[in-house]
Amino acid sequence: MNDCVNAEFRDQLPALLHERLEGSERAAILAHLDGCLDCREELELLRELQGMFVSATPAVSLTTIVAALPAAPLPAGVLPFRQRVSRRMDWRVAAAVLVLVAGGGSFAMRGHMPSAAQAIASATPTVPTAVAVNATPTSEAQSTVASATVASNASRSTDAELSMTGRLDDLSDEQLQSLLGEIDNLQATTIAEPEAAVVPVTLSSDGPSGA
């Protein structure tokens, strides 16, 4: 088997075999092949060699290969499934903790809070007592003390206000009127704030002299 003297055409034979030549190049080498036995023999040899490689190549399992590949990256802004689940679980855990804390807290507070009956028992007498103190004010100072007492009692019995409604029904109209009047009086009580002292000053030629 001889080599063609035209090295350029010989060089292109594998490209012709794999159909990698453009129209004009392909036409030129095909024209050359018509008149060149050496190139035709070499092309046939190349075809046989290619056939040998093809028949010697075992089939590969595409499924196995694809299954082993790393997952395609997620588009920007999309979290991986595991991370999404994790975030959702975080939210759920937080919600569960909140419910437990709120539930446990209210249960604990219920244990410390007075029962309705205790609240009535402790709250009901407080108001009349305070009112009684305030009912006969002897001085402004006493009134202030009484006001403070009522305010204190009122704040202590705030939680039991609803419970008191039942007991207020037991009061007579006269008692209620009296209680409301006293409350009005308490609200009208002036706040004991220090007022600016006014000292009259007389100016004379000898200097200032206080009154």
């Binding site: 075999l17 010697a56 395609a72």
Partner: protein, 184 residues
């Protein structure tokens, strides 16, 4: 040498890679379909005879794991061949370290190329296989890339790590050696 068919193929590869990078796993399947047979053929031509499935799979896994590093300077298939070749050389180095080695060596070219034995059906192909054994490893590598894959000298140079001129010389020397063997 212009190659419109190859540039269309490269364009399709680029498109599939972009699709895979944006989350389309089916693009990977198509890329495997397009190149797995060529990779298996390269392994056989390189002299590999065992676990070719595994080798092709490893090549793809490594390629997809470092796809961000693929700049597109060469064709995707050329890049895959480069990866596969590196894996093949690693395999051979590992086999050489084994005490009961029966694997192929890069340096004992005359006896190493027996991958095609038993794989070739007829006498003509067996004779061609014998002719391939006469080549040096580099000649065989260049020759098979040119004949079995239809690669240009530039692409062969990229895969083998040589120059276009050297690839051309290796190819023609290999062709001459094969012809001489067959003429005997």
């Amino acid at each position: 040498m212009s190659d419109p068919a190859r540039s269309t193929d490269d364009g399709r590869d680029t498109e599939l890679i972009a699709r895979w990078k944006s989350g389309d796993q089916r693009a990977a399947t198509e890329l495997v379909e397009r190149h797995s047979t060529a990779l298996a053929r390269f392994a056989v031509a390189f002299g590999e005879r065992e676990d070719i499935d595994e080798l092709v799979q490893d090549t793809f896994v490594r390629a997809f794991s470092s796809l961000d590093g693929f700049r597109g300077d060469s064709a995707f298939r050329t890049w895959l061949f480069t990866i596969e070749r590196r894996l093949l050389l690693d395999r051979r180095r590992a086999a050489r370290r084994r005490p009961d080695r029966d694997a192929l060596h890069e340096d004992d070219s005359a006896t190493s190329y027996n991958a095609l034995d038993g794989m070739l059906a007829d006498e003509t192909q067996r004779r061609l296989g014998e002719a391939m054994k006469q080549l040096s490893p580099t000649q065989r590598e260049v020759f098979s890339l040119r004949v079995a894959q239809g690669m240009s000298y530039k692409e062969i140079a990229d895969v083998v790590g040589t120059t276009e001129g050297a690839a051309r010389v290796h190819y023609h020397n290999a062709m001459r050696a094969v012809k001489e063997f067959l003429d005997e």
